[in-house]
Symmetry: C2
Subunit: 342 residues, 2 copies
Amino acid sequence: MERRLDPLGYKRIVRERRGSYEPLFASGVWRYRELLPPIDPTSIVSLAEGNMPLYEAPGGASYAGVDRLAYLHLGMNPTGSFKDLGMTVAVSAAKAAGMRGVVAASTGNTASSMAAYAARAGLEAHALVPRGRVTQAKLAQMLEYGARIVEVEGSFDDAFAQLDRVADGALQIVNSTNPFRLEGQKCAAFSILEQRGWHVPDWVVLPGGNLGNISAIGRGFREALELHLIDRLPRLALVRADAGTQTRATAIAVGIPQSRERASRELHESDGIELVASDEAIFAAKARIGREGIGCEPASAASLAGLRILRERGRVAPDADVVAVLTGHVLKDAGAVQHAAV
Amino acid sequence: MERRLDPLGYKRIVRERRGSYEPLFASGVWRYRELLPPIDPTSIVSLAEGNMPLYEAPGGASYAGVDRLAYLHLGMNPTGSFKDLGMTVAVSAAKAAGMRGVVAASTGNTASSMAAYAARAGLEAHALVPRGRVTQAKLAQMLEYGARIVEVEGSFDDAFAQLDRVADGALQIVNSTNPFRLEGQKCAAFSILEQRGWHVPDWVVLPGGNLGNISAIGRGFREALELHLIDRLPRLALVRADAGTQTRATAIAVGIPQSRERASRELHESDGIELVASDEAIFAAKARIGREGIGCEPASAASLAGLRILRERGRVAPDADVVAVLTGHVLKDAGAVQHAAV
């Protein structure tokens, strides 16, 4: 990266923007526009995404066995998942490029986010989803925002494989293979840092499906380091479902992650670690998160489940200062709550 | 009100708090703590509520026939509805008073908010809900946060009538009859004003169920006027469902509004107006809102439906500058989307 900026001055600018009511800066993505691809402001499509709370979680810390734990709750974005951070950039770029519409394969969160931003932009949205494996809530969102839904037999991977059949020159693919998506999503790293007064946590733990999120957040921390906004990287921990495409944590039910290489690079650069958690461990962690008044969808809880496993294995120190990323809102999968409660 | 403050200085203080990462000021309610009942900060239970976007809606403006329309989207609160604004104050007050728990009758949104804040506070939560008339998503939230749910035969009004049977000296009722609820909810008025640079809209249109929300928002505008933060009041328009307790907009399915007197006072003070909308008009308006990339639950759309009716009747001028309040997130009632789409 060639960019140069004055770190202290930039931190002040971002803080001032946060306090302002300039429409563009109501977005916790576009507040960092100097660190994003240049897009004509008249093409920017925003829903005031990126203002995620960082919730202190003493109960979760005790459950996992660490000194300090906070949740960055990406489910508090406009469509209820982390996808909005990247979608605002990807859809803005598609609009700026004069595309007719956007298309994505999705387990549900990507498509519902895409549909909302496309509607806001006046673009078509086409969603390829695995039949019977998308929650009612996510399908409802796609319908609400007027997306065209194509149900594909099989898993997410099968839907992804059919993307090229649907995309044409005027329909932009906005899966996380789209580089603009990762540019927006990296702002989750800036949000963690900013809310902690730019104090770097020891570990950042994330659930992983297609692995776009860890790729983006890892990049965000590395850019912050290169720009001297911070002086070291947090270690990343990536938690996947051991049940693969059959997990009940449907948002991470991916067999062949499209961002595998990028994710592996970020794990390497940050001296990170990858592990799997069982559905049983994921749902137990989810219940623990809810007990502190914080609701998330099952996949999100993989982060707390994974942190507990890492502690049990002695891979994370008991005095660690940890941020766990929650990726989706509890309302994204109400059925999972009721299933677990039976 | 006896309070005196320097209006310009206070506006600056609030803006600075918005930019800061002081945990208390991550809340768009507690940023206004001088205007709220005094509660010991150690008892305050917050989930970073109150940071609602104000979305410009040119499509909605054209649908209703007014020059300018924006949606204040209260569904972008932590549990997905406006209830969080009041619940943070009511549950904090209950905790400060040493109560064992909290209790509410609810069509779903109040109880899911109560359950989250009670869990965060370490208090019991008891919910009385009308059997078969609460969406799956809202029941799931109550379960997630560990509330005890009692299903009552009949409507919300029947559930409300049974409150006294459940409440005891150590269980605080947190329905909107609780004065702390309205104190928090009035901050929605401050949010509208702040995001518009303290420029007063001509009209603020709200859906009404139990009428706590209009009572609170009306009070918020009046207090802002008394404190010289603004120099006139917006006119309020209250939109109820003509189908009463049978409306498919379940969040406003209330027959006997508990805050009727307060609401009537606010309508009178603001030279406001009350009207009803049919379910057909409400669902048509909801579809129009979704087309602009904004998702809400059916009850929320009563505001746009009502605004359109007021324009048709010539009660609102075509050059009006209007804010319509959306009260709940689309994920609160996914079934309504799919029902409407069939």
